[in-house]
């Protein structure tokens, strides 16, 4: 039986951040993730925003952790080579009713210790973002709201954790947790049992199921779907900042913002669902995005869409971010209620949990040889011609452009496949490199990526999958 000190269940943002944080200590850490690749569920289908926490519920753990997390990103993204940019957000008010909510929202920001939120007049807002509805009456400017590449956040954290010794068991589902004499002893998985001293439940959408294994499911999780449009980089109406609607209790609302790579993101909806596997888009939801966002950005051109996707938020009932340890259950940490600010809060949640575990008696000796630096796959598209020439001289495969739309080379694909926790599927290549995320959506590069994956992984083309087992791209050879 495998033996480890700590099992982390889930390799989404929280699990990956925990893995990286714990890899700083002389501890044996194992991450168990049911999906074939990193990134969890919600962590790979969200609005890619690093929040300030200005609109959290003051006094809550969520408020504390999100506000603490935001300033951490400059250093972390630099160390881990993760695309990140502090572009700022505007919260415009278009009706008298919305305008009258602004003072309360500003005060809430202060209560959340997000002190750098400022008022702006309608005129000032239009100067900052000319595509705003000209009827804007005024609003708030939130300078530290930022955008990030959410896939590379998880991948960067996890790769660095693995490089520093964390074991990752992908495609491995936790099926049970054994407790003996009030302490966790074993995690049961589809790949066998793991003897462990600690278990951290970072299973997001499924954290209630995992909590159920140890009888700590005094809450349940329902999926709240969010659908998004992605617009072409050349779309006629672009915004330069995150444009936020006045939030409601149910959702932060439908926004429009740039992505790290120059597309526009529009959405999300907020639809309560029952099926945790239903990530489909639907016409009604997509249409509602158009209606709502046009109130803020009247000329948004959704016909320039290159794709739509939907993600599932893990909605806790009762609501609220909870991080729990129990006197009657040693070694178990429950993380639930990570929603809307999960991506942001992940790095602070990780620090908080480790601190909690140490306070609870975990012996954790700091590693002197922890390497915080991760170099990602070179981003050919962002390089100068001189940098490109140097790269190709070192490895000619960087001279073979495979993805025309996003300018991704064979060298990059091979690097992404062979590095720690490398890509093993079409989606794995896509999320690490953007090959297939362009306007042709894999029409040109798809057949070539399949070929390269088969060659580099030493499998037949029929075995190449889009993501998890059952998603094979091809059904066989020609006759």
């Amino acid at each position: 039986m495998k033996k480890t000190d700590i099992v982390i269940i889930g390799a989404g943002a929280v699990g990956s951040a925990l893995a990286r944080e714990l890899s700083k200590y002389k501890l044996d850490v194992t991450v168990v993730e049911k999906n074939e690749d990193l990134g969890g569920d919600s962590s790979k289908s969200n609005s890619a925003i690093i929040h300030t926490g200005y609109d959290a519920k003051p006094g809550t753990l969520e408020s504390q952790l999100v506000v603490a997390a935001n300033p951490m990103y400059d250093k972390i993204t630099e160390e881990l080579d993760i695309p990140f940019k502090r572009i700022g957000a505007l919260l415009p008010a278009f009706t008298q009713e919305q305008f009258e909510q602004l003072p309360a929202l500003k005060h809430k920001a202060m209560m959340n210790r997000v002190y750098d939120v400022e008022y702006r007049t309608g005129e000032q807002l239009l100067k900052m973002e000319p595509n705003l509805n000209p009827e804007v009456k005024g609003g708030l400017y939130i300078p530290r709201e930022s955008i990030i590449d959410p896939f590379l956040l998880c991948i960067g954290l996890a790769e660095n954790a693995a490089d520093n010794g964390v074991h990752f068991l992908l495609g491995t589902k936790c099926t049970g947790i054994k407790v003996e004499e009030g302490a966790v002893t074993t995690v049961q998985t589809t790949a066998g049992d793991i003897e462990t001293k600690y278990v951290i439940n970072a299973a997001g959408l499924y954290c209630d199921e995992v909590a159920g294994y140890v009888g700590k499911n005094d809450y349940y999780v329902t999926p709240r779907k969010g659908q998004f449009y992605i617009l072409d980089k050349n779309t006629t109406c672009k915004v330069g900042m995150i444009i936020l609607p006045i939030p409601t209790k149910v959702t932060k609302g439908k926004l429009m913002c740039p992505t790290m790579h120059g597309n526009m993101l529009v959405g999300p909806t907020a639809e309560d669902m029952l099926d945790k596997t239903d990530k489909s888009t639907n016409a009604e939801g997509l249409a509602s995005i158009a209606t709502d966002v046009r109130k803020m950005i009247p000329n948004v051109n959704l016909r320039d869409t290159i794709t739509q996707y939907s993600g599932l938020r893990a909605q806790r009932n009762p609501e609220g971010l909870n991080i729990d340890v129990y006197d009657d259950l040693k070694g178990y940490v429950n993380i639930s209620g990570v929603r809307s600010t999960g991506l942001t809060g992940s790095v602070a949640i990780a620090k908080y949990v480790v601190d909690l575990m140490i306070e609870g008696g975990m012996h954790a000796e700091f590693k002197t040889d922890f390497n915080p630096i991760r170099h990602g796959t070179p981003r050919f598209a962002e390089m100068t011609n001189e940098e490109r020439a140097t790269l190709i001289a070192k490895d000619p495969r960087y001279g073979n452009v495979i993805c025309r739309c996003e300018t991704v080379t064979e060298g990059q694909i091979c690097d992404a496949i062979h590095r720690t926790l490398g890509a093993r599927s079409v989606d794995g290549v896509k999320r690490r490199l953007r090959a297939g995320m362009g306007r042709c959506q894999g029409g040109f590069c798809g057949p070539r990526v399949i070929e390269i994956l088969a060659r580099e992984l030493g499998i037949t083309p029929e075995e190449v999958r889009k993501n998890d087992p059952g998603s094979e791209m091809l059904t066989g050879k020609g006759r």
């Binding site: 596997t277 290159i306 739509q308 011609n385 452009v401 042709c440 798809g446 094979e472 091809l474 006759r479």
Partner: protein, 413 residues
């Protein structure tokens, strides 16, 4: 980085680029370079293994690769230079920046440049089909490449959305390779592609063509498990509630239109036409930048490779003349798409030279008269039994017909 000054640099070595190279050489250009991103010359023809090419040009019925080889042979015989596996990153001022494994990054300089990048396919994302995002959703061209170049089948039970030529060709192709094609759904009430393909690919194989239908949902978690097809209101094109039918399948192919691939042109500030999505050209295939020419599907989506070859040889000829300083610019007049005409190519005409005007109807019509007007004066007319947006038409105009006119209009009545 290496530099060499060519007379003509051609971006793309498919049917358009190959014919342009031949035209340029025949017109006296000494140094002609083709830059091609694929591993071989021939472009999209390499995967079009079905026959039907060359009826006009060679009086024979050839497959795509055979047709390509006729031009490739001539290109080689004429001493045209070419780079394969080379992606053009930028079309600059009398230059082209490319990248490949052998040369690395390079800038090639040319007195004239011909854009021949062809098209890409409209995607599921662009048409916003709701549902899940499983494996098994392909554009028809990508599926064609996989079976015809990589010998891999994308699926066993197929539904096709769109009656474009590629969709119909793939319906037959997949059937011949042992797949079951359940239906081709087409949102319009007429076939998008050539009539002969409807007959030879669908009717001859008993594959149902569902006009005024579209796909309203894709189902399947990891792999396509089915698609829901609904009837649409012919006027609004909106799905009619209650007509939804689930077709169980493992593959959805999309043939919903081709889009000229003009990212390089846009970046080079070439003026594009809103309707064609391609560069606006005169009858010499010259864009708004005098040294930049364009031909083939990058200008407007063609139905017949033969037309592409004719147009592209012309582009090559005039690019070569331009490079030699022998192309005189006169005042140009616009062509105007009139009644039931979606677009005309070329968009501008030099009245001193003859011009072939290619055009498409906006909607299908029977028993029509095509009228060509120089200002208000009718200069040419012909009767057609039927006209179809999926089949490009052409008319010729002579300098004596259009001298002194401010515009040339085509009406289909």
């Amino acid at each position: 980085m290496s530099k060499k000054i060519y007379d003509v640099i051609i971006v793309g070595g498919g049917p358009a680029g190959l014919a342009a190279a031949v035209g340029a050489k025949k017109a006296g250009a000494e140094n002609v370079l083709i830059v091609e991103r694929d591993i071989s010359l021939g472009g999209i023809l390499e995967q079009c293994i079905h026959p039907g090419f060359g009826l006009k040009t060679f009086g024979e019925e050839l497959t795509g690769p055979e047709y390509a080889r006729r031009y490739i042979k001539e290109v080689l015989d004429l001493g045209v230079e070419y780079k394969l596996g080379t992606m053009v990153l930028e079309v600059g001022d009398h230059s082209v920046t490319g990248v490949n494994q052998k040369d690395g990054l390079f800038v090639a300089e040319g007195k004239s440049i011909i854009l021949a990048m062809g098209c890409r396919e409209r995607t599921r994302g662009a048409i916003m089909t709701p549902g899940t995002r499983p494996a098994g959703v392909y554009t028809a061209g990508a599926a064609q490449r996989l079976i015809n170049r990589q010998n891999m089948m994308v699926g066993k039970k197929v539904v096709i959305l769109g009656s474009g030529d590629i969709g119909m060709i793939m319906a037959r192709r997949m059937t011949l390779e042992g797949a079951k094609v359940l239906a081709v759904a087409e949102i319009m009430d007429y076939t998008a592609g050539l009539t002969r393909n409807r007959v030879q690919c669908l009717e001859d194989f008993g594959i149902p063509l569902l006009l005024s239908h579209t796909i309203v949902e894709i189902k399947g978690n990891k792999r396509v498990e089915g698609v829901v097809i609904a009837e649409v209101d012919p006027a609004t094109k909106k799905p009619i509630e209650g007509t939804e039918k689930l077709y169980e399948c493992d593959t959805l192919l999309l043939s919903c239109g081709l889009i000229p691939e003009n990212e390089l042109s846009k970046a080079a500030e070439i003026k594009l036409n809103r309707i064609t999505s391609g560069p606006e050209v005169n009858q010499f295939m010259q864009t708004n930048k005098p040294y930049v020419f364009a031909c083939g599907n990058v200008v407007h989506v063609n139905d017949l490779a033969d037309n592409v070859s004719e147009e592209s040889e012309r582009a090559g000829k005039y690019a070569a003349l331009y490079a030699a300083g022998k192309l005189t610019q006169g005042k140009e007049i616009p062509t105007v798409p009139g009644t039931n005409v979606r677009y005309i190519c070329p968009q501008r005409v030099c009245p001193e030279e003859p011009a072939t005007l290619f055009f498409r109807a906006a909607a299908p019509q029977k028993n029509v008269t095509v009228k060509v007007l120089a200002d208000d004066k009718e200069i040419f007319s012909k009767k057609l039994i039927k006209i179809n947006p999926g089949e490009m038409e052409k008319v010729e105009v002579k300098p004596e017909q259009i001298a002194g006119a401010a515009a040339i209009t085509i009406n289909v009545i």
